[in-house]
Symmetry: C2
Subunit: 149 residues, 2 copies
């Protein structure tokens, strides 16, 4: 899973977010036949956006698609998805969510499974390191991103 | 509830969406002390956006806020919220979701309640009429918006 092009693209997006001083989370939506439909990264810091999390950005950049385009698709994301991004994956009925790590944050993994979506954790050390560095340096911004105080 | 400024603003947004030829759903986020924080409407047709549903637009237009700003807040929306928008309300821990109707679509109301969010349905005939007209004229676009085929 870690070598999948979708995961590598999500990781590149996370690194890009980090290089921009943003929340270092990336995502990439890949179709059933292995094509990248869209990719993106969290833009809270860069665009003052409370809704463009990585997965939302990947879906947005994929553009308007019929429901059939999401069939069998995988959402790769470098971090366990928050409730909003969990809901977005459920809305469009992706088949699988592959996440980089869930040591720094645990999102809606159980609910994804309840709704019939496969969840795979690749336990990426790089994803975890990116998040740990950001949380240490920007604790307030991180809490803002996950609706905590 | 139907006379609340938040609901009236959400309805105005839905009418605006309809006048633009878009999916006629509007939303408005109102703080605990009654101030409008942000409002928006579905922009699938207007901007080719699969993620700017009404509630996401309202949250986005409210901009970056600390978690405390959402405490006691109400999300007014003209239609029962889809799974993505349900998740967004849960992420930011709004206190209450007031929805216009759920006859044309039933979203994540049960899950909102499970997660401790109050749900109120105002059964607005105008909200229902706006949706019925759109669904009749644009069945494919409506299915696309809710991930159905």
């Amino acid at each position: 899973m870690e070598s999948d092009i979708g995961f590598q693209a999500a990781l590149e997006e996370a690194r890009k977010g980090a290089s921009e001083g943003g929340v270092p989370i990336g995502a990439c939506l890949v179709s059933a036949d292995g094509k990248i439909l869209g990719r993106g990264h969290n833009l809270r810091m860069q665009k003052g956006s409370p809704t463009i999390h990585a997965e939302i950005g990947a879906l947005e950049n994929a553009g308007r698609l019929p429901a059939s385009a999401y069939q069998g698709a995988t959402m790769y994301t470098t971090l366990s998805p928050c409730d909003m991004c969990t809901g977005a994956c459920i809305l469009y009925k992706v088949k699988r969510v592959v996440l980089g790590e869930n040591k720094t944050f645990v999102g809606g993994e159980d609910y994804l499974k309840q709704r019939g979506i496969e969840v795979v954790n690749v336990n990426s050390a790089e994803c975890e390191d990116l998040m740990k560095k950001f949380i240490k340096e920007h604790p307030e911004e991180w809490n803002e991103d996950i609706g905590e105080q």
